[in-house]
């Protein structure tokens, strides 16, 4: 057999949300890139929920956008409803969520890939990672030199990015019926796992699931609560013109399970593959199947069910909140107990899916494998869940594969810079026994990591990497200046106790002034806003909405922001203490054995990261700090 041989810079395996970002980043940074998928028609497929964003995930999308990624732009082009969640709460937890037209989303992303310079889209199953032994200055182990497809073609390359999602040795379960396919009946990838194991990669098996899709015509929406989008839609991307997203939106619908539903589930638990022990993989705690919810939260009388359209050109409706792996007959009976679904017709059954993924602690925070130079990975393959988590990792893996080829330092965002930093730090540091989902509670410094300031936080980094244009970067700098200037002005503009000022305050239910106050002091009052104060602030310039938003947040929450910055300062102290790559933990006698083993295996890059490894105690960290002091003195 004569095999073809091709030579490129980067191979990206998988064209889901991680793969797309990874491939685009590499190509945009000028590297010849091939992106492989088992089905060209399934690029950027959304096999589960039909939305992008949501609590904390919306933050990820904003950050991806600020760094020069594609997800935000793509959802802005294809959304059919949009909502800012948690508006009654503080700005840190405001989160954008948009319903997508799934087919449109996939098509638009495919269009972007197809038209990207330096990028080739290829339908093929990658079966083997080709690596060779390598002795470098600071590294000895293996190095990636290429990949091989099922048809035998070899692509020589300098970096490979694995974004295989849920496709590796995938198996779908619907009650007793088990099929060996990827999501949506797509072809699984059955060979790559073995190749990875041969390279010494440790594999895990995870599980996730999706609910049924229903025929819109069989649903009685009269029994459900209609859920509208926001009146004024805010785009995800910082580059999208706000005017372009003011579209006619479609509605979602809310209904609830009840005791009848729960009874049916309880009576048929023995037929659930999870409870019957057929499923080996670990499922996510935060995204439980309806079976899990009924069992674990037996005291809840009802659970929410969201009926969401899958797109504008289909009658399929997604049944959010009721994912299941029960058999078909039980599914139908169970769904039909829900108000509005009494006569529902199922288009696609709910199912659970099991797949191979890795213990992501084998990766550096750059998302490169510690033991295999040039091999990167992102997305569900790394043990995460969710489109946004995948895209974020894909982008970083793509950037860092490129940085490594160009011989530049990797981009590592820390926990105080971005949700992406939190996500990746958690993945590569902590033991992860279930698919990892981003949550606001995982971000310690979230008042600083708001979705509204992602551009101010990350535009510069995107620009330095090379994914953000100079124009965009300068626009961001200008915005920063405007904000600073206005905050400064408000802090230095004094309002006297003149009659009209007092009247204004009394009118707005605010205490009158005893002595003069600055405008910023007045803005700190919960009942007053920047906009209201225009009445007593004639010197004000007209500023864009996004600038005003930042000014308002900075002034109103100044104390909190300052305190959070202090927390960050403390955190950074430990992050700044880097651990040399050639450290031999067996040299440190006072380290407990467990800590010595864990540190040797996971090789953290900083003392901060070391302290987050489970099994490494605060006492171990003290020992490590003492050792590093000695070490630095010795090497000086």
């Amino acid at each position: 057999m004569i095999n073809l041989k091709e030579k490129v810079d980067v191979c990206v395996v998988g064209a889901g949300h991680a793969g797309c970002e990874a491939a685009l980043a590499c190509a945009r940074l000028g590297l010849e890139t091939v992106i492989f998928t088992v089905s060209i028609d399934s690029v950027a497929l959304m096999p589960c929920n039909p939305n992008i964003g949501g609590t904390s995930k919306g933050h990820l999308v904003r950050e991806i956008d600020a760094l020069g990624g594609e997800m935000g732009k793509n959802i802005d082009k294809t959304f059919i409803q949009s909502k800012m969640l948690n508006k009654s709460k503080g700005p840190a937890v405001h989160s954008l969520r948009a319903q997508a037209d799934k087919a449109d989303y996939s098509r638009e992303m495919r269009k972007v890939l197809e038209n990207q310079e330096h990028l080739t889209l290829k339908q093929a199953e990658v079966c083997e990672i080709i690596a060779e032994d390598y002795e470098g200055q600071d590294f000895s182990g293996k190095r990636v030199v290429g990949i091989k497809t099922f048809t035998g073609t070899v692509y020589e390359c300098q970096a490979v990015i694995l974004c295989t999602g849920t496709y590796l040795k995938a198996r779908c379960l619907c009650g007793e019926a088990i099929t060996y396919t990827g999501p949506n009946g797509l072809q699984p990838a059955n060979h790559l796992t073995d190749s990875l194991k041969e390279l010494g990669v440790e594999m895990h098996r995870f599980k996730t699931g999706t609910p049924a899709r229903m025929d819109k015509r069989s649903i009685d929406f009269g029994k459900m609560e209609e859920q509208f989008g926001d009146e004024k839609v805010i785009p995800f991307s910082f580059t999208t013109d706000s005017e372009d997203v003011q579209i006619d939106q479609v509605s979602c619908w809310l209904t609830y399970t009840n005791e009848k539903t729960h009874d049916i589930i309880r009576n048929n638990l023995d037929r659930s593959p999870i409870y019957a022990g057929i499923i080996e993989g670990t499922g996510p705690r935060y995204c439980p199947s309806i079976e899990d919810k009924v069992v674990k939260f037996a005291d809840k009388e009802r659970h929410q069910v969201f009926i969401e359209p899958e797109g504008l050109h289909t009658n399929e409706m997604y049944v959010g909140g009721m994912s299941s792996s029960l058999p078909e007959d039980v599914q139908l009976a169970m769904y039909r107990t829900v108000p509005g679904l009494e006569h529902c017709k199922i288009v696609r059954n709910a199912y659970a899916i099991e797949y191979d993924c890795i213990d992501s602690r084998q990766l550096y925070p750059s998302l490169e494998f510690k033991n295999i130079k040039g091999l990167f990975s992102g997305g569900q393959f790394n043990g995460s869940s969710g489109y946004e988590e995948a895209a974020a990792q894909g982008l970083i893996a793509g950037i860092n594969a490129s940085m490594s080829i160009y011989g530049r330092d990797p981009l590592i965002l820390d926990r105080s810079q971005a949700y992406i930093g939190v996500l990746i730090d958690d993945l590569v540091t902590k033991e992860n026994r279930e698919p990892y989902r981003m949550m606001t509670s995982r971000a310690e410094y979230r008042l600083l990591l708001r979705q509204d300031n992602a551009d101010l936080r990350l535009r510069q980094i995107g620009y330095e990497v090379g994914l953000v244009s100079k124009d965009l970067y300068e626009a961001c700098l200008f915005k920063k200046k405007q904000i600073e200037k206005e905050v400064d002005r408000l802090k230095n503009t004094v309002i006297g106790a003149a009659r009209e000022n007092q009247d204004f305050l009394i009118f707005h239910g605010s205490a009158s002034l005893k002595t003069a106050a600055t405008l910023s002091e007045l803005m700190c009052r919960p009942e007053l806003s920047y906009e209201m104060l225009s009445a007593i602030d004639p010197m004000r310039e007209v500023l864009p909405d996004d600038v005003i938003e930042q000014v308002e947040i900075e002034i109103k929450y100044e104390g909190y922001i300052e305190r959070q910055l202090k927390q960050v300062e403390h955190y950074k102290k430990m992050e700044k203490k880097k651990i040399p790559a050639d450290i031999d933990y067996n040299d440190i006698g006072s380290l407990r054995l467990e800590a010595r083993q864990k540190l040797s295996v996971y090789r953290p890059i900083s003392v901060g990261q070391a302290s987050r490894i489970s099994g490494v105690s605060p006492a171990d960290i003290s020992v490590l700090l003492v050792y590093l002091e000695h070490y630095h003195k010795k090497t000086l």
Binding site: T55, F297, L447, P526, A595, A619, V623
Partner: protein, 484 residues
Amino acid sequence: MRTDTIAAIATAMSDSGIGIIRVSGDKAIEIVDKIYQNVRHEKVLKKYESHTIHYGFLVEEDGTVVDEIMISVMKAPRSYTMEDTVEINCHGGVLMMQKILSVVMKAGARVAEPGEFTKRAFLNGRIDLSKAEAVMDIIHAKNEFALQSSVKQLKGSVSEKIKNLREEILYEIAFIESALDDPEHISLDGYCERLSDKSEHIIHELDRLLCSADDGKILKEGINTVIVGKPNVGKSSLLNLLAGKERAIVTDVAGTTRDILEETINFGHFTLNMTDTAGIRNTDDVVEKIGVEKARKISEEADLILYVIDGSVPLDESDMDIIRMIQGKNTIILLNKSDLEEVTDIQSVLDIISKTLECDVKVSHEPSSIQKIEGIDYSVYIVRTSIKNEDGMELLSSLIKEMFFYGELLYNDEVYITNIRHKEALSDARKSMDEVRKSLEMNMPEDFYSIDLMSAYASLGFIIGEEVGDDLVNEIFSKFCMGK
């Protein structure tokens, strides 16, 4: 960074029956093996299993027998330091212990620095910081009974208390965070009131901990003892006598006002945190009234009251006031001035107590220099003393000891924060909780509370050497329903 092997005398440097030399480190067994022989004169220490004890002899390297010993072997990591440890139980006596220690030195160990065993225990992950610090306190505690309290702290009374507070705070953070991540199942309706109550409680607890750490004042464990009595009955003389006789004043801190004097006194086996109060008498004088009010307050917090009565003058209404004031408190009545003619005898004391408390108290008929008053449900003893002639002080000392052993007197087991590091962290936590309270008052959205709760949590973690880790996410999953 291999650790070298250290040795020290682990028991008190006194002429007691048994002494212990502790040896710890990678070479502990190897080193002691050189100087230990069993009864058959074999060198077999290395063969002994961990946590066994053996009889034998300690010999110098030339074979001279130094002492008959028992030897216990504890192999890493199952020892206090988590290193190989050998303990040599030898005959007591300062000279013998020093001799044995020097033999151990010659065999290759070095003398441990003060607290080094504990430092190693901490570095090896055996104990957390506050426990380590308690052990340091043990090392510095001169008073033998203070040990008991230090041991208590070692078991973790500070850690315990801080841990509990942290858990309470963590629960609240987890609740808020869960509600943010899963509003379907977790509602924040009415939560602010609950958090408000919780914050008050936590602030109160922090204040109590902080109180014990007031401005560099050394608040060592001890029996909080208050001297009360009418003016001129010998209270101050008693204080001077106790302080002077033992010549062991640890601190001499003036009270908040001139009419209260505090001293920490080593008396017999105990540390007494002594407070002398202004004489109590019925008066219209404003200044004196304030003094009396203070005495009343201090008495409320006392573990032991020393009530001094002048036996050479009759009892009066002021004595009744005092008896009422100290009702319910463990009390020793010192019937003083026994060197003078007795006007007030034990019976008249019993009578006035009966009259004041409207009960019937008596003492046993057996003649004794110490009388226990029966008929009330707390401990009151009467001792005859002459402070001027220093009579009755041994009695007083042994009485306090007895009361302690019979559990009538509790050694102060309150948690004390004596360490500057602890104190700073505590006040940081306190400040953060204040911010939480402010946020609540300002009706801030719930997600703001967790910023300062998190700081409080971290500050407290600093005291016990624990940092914020994965606890939060685990707490969320273990306590709350999460669903998407």
